[in-house]
Symmetry: C2
Subunit: 260 residues, 2 copies
DNA sequence: GAGTGGTCTAGACCACGGG
DNA sequence: CCGTGGTCTAGACCACTCT
């Protein structure tokens, strides 16, 4: 039943009628399955982007119930080792990109600098007015005109984040005439002379739910990282207020900072 | 079957024989359960630290299988809304603490500053020698003497992180004579005159597995945040190399930085 | 249309905790 | 001890993709 030349996924598992094993690693079936798949990836039998065998094939090979197989797959998904494409299958995750919020090169440049292929898709771009929260962020009265841009960004063709960017219309009049499928940073600098001298960044692990999950085509509940960045220019004006929702397996954050 | 004065957890669900509902929110049973619990928390019927009804009680109240109940609970756990104590029950999560790696006040002070009660437990403290990786971090030859300290830290009595700290024995000779249940920062500064002027911090969402999960008494696979901090003094020497594994629902990171 | 993952049921037994 | 969550089975039907 076990594919030849591969470790037996059940080899660390005690059957329920056998005496308990003294194996210090545990004998849980779902972790056995986890280790089996992780081992195939570590051994190079499965590479980044490869599709795993279907759940029912794994079930046949391992002799355990499909629910148990899925528990092991969920574990690997939480670890960032594999990901799923809805109703298509499970795939080996590509490595994360490194994101340094202290560097003010945008997404496009730092992804490219790491040898990956970035792309951006604008979901919407519209004029809005400041509610109480945004008014406070921008230091404007409620009702002040703002622009809201929603984008989805990809690395090597895989959607990795969705974001909502708010820009003060007073600083970037008529902003909506531009395309946002490239770098917004460049537009703000070249067309409006706005450059960023300070970033206030907040990050929090979260679950991708509802709209974000739908936009990233992931199941609701997948772990994610919420990144809120407020960018200021040298005069202390808010140039950009950006809320990004990342897939948890797509990035690593690295900052190098002087201590205050 | 539904407790009075509470939303019916099944109210958004279509039975399998009914015609499909046009409700734009979906009718999945596990999300119905999620919304039911989330609603009770939002309404104040359940507060931070409260214990939820047992899975079997929820099963009775909602008329769905226990596996489905658990799927809804896992969803809320991923969102950071609830957490579990192994074989004890599900509890409402307390709010996260805010952690600013640019400020060189340690865990104890910033947790206290937010009105929470920190505590620290030393798991082990020992002398080790540098392997290739640590030698590279500290700029020492392989085999150089180092200290390794493993600690578990709590907020309001809940274990929120485990960490492994490595310190160069040449900079802090005889370090092991101290207790590490308080601030290591203070020890390094007061006893050895070491102060930090630069931090290199890397953060990555991860899953808490094996040792970390066991040390935090969580189930393997719970989402977490891995934080690696390398601290340098004014001469560029590595004062501290710290790898922390946080519960994903326990912290929010906030940095305020000048752009390079 | 075949195959995939997504959801759900209705049980069972287990390990561990002190509700 | 009893109750808890943790694991597991062996099915079923559904929604969706197209491997």
């Amino acid at each position: 039943m076990i594919p030849p030349n591969l470790p037996d996924p059940m080899s660390r598992s005690a059957s329920q009628t056998d005496p308990p094993r003294a194996d210090p690693t545990d004998g849980l079936h779902y972790l056995g399955m986890r280790d089996y798949i992780a081992g195939r990836i570590a051994a190079g039998a499965l590479k980044a982007g490869d599709r795993l065998p279907s759940e029912r094939q794994l079930q046949t090979a391992g002799g355990v119930a499909r629910g148990t197989i899925r528990q092991g797959l969920f574990q690997l998904e939480a670890e960032g080792v594999i990901y799923r494409r809805d109703r298509s299958g499970w795939y080996v995750s590509p490595p994360p990109v490194v994101y340094d919020p202290t560097r003010w090169e945008g997404f496009m440049s730092y992804v490219e600098a790491q040898g990956r292929e970035p792309s951006t898709e604008t979901l919407s771009a519209e004029s809005i007015v400041a509610d109480a929260m945004l008014a406070s962020v921008f230091g404007r009265p409620a009702g002040a005109p703002l622009y809201l841009i929603r984008r989805r960004r990809y690395i090597d063709g895989r959607a990795v984040l969705v974001e909502r960017i708010v820009v003060d219309a007073a600083l970037a009049p008529d902003l909506l005439r531009f395309s946002f499928d490239q770098s917004l940073t460049s537009i703000l600098r070249q067309a409006y002379g706005l450059s960023v001298s300070r970033n206030q960044v907040t990050m929090q692990p979260c679950a991708l739910t509802r709209e974000e999950a739908e936009a990233l085509k992931v199941k609701s509940g997948l772990p994610g990282l919420s990144v809120v960045r407020t960018s200021f220019d040298a005069q202390g004006r808010v140039v950009e207020y950006d809320h990004e929702f990342w897939r948890h397996d797509a990035l690593r954050i690295s900052v190098d900072i002087r201590v205050r």
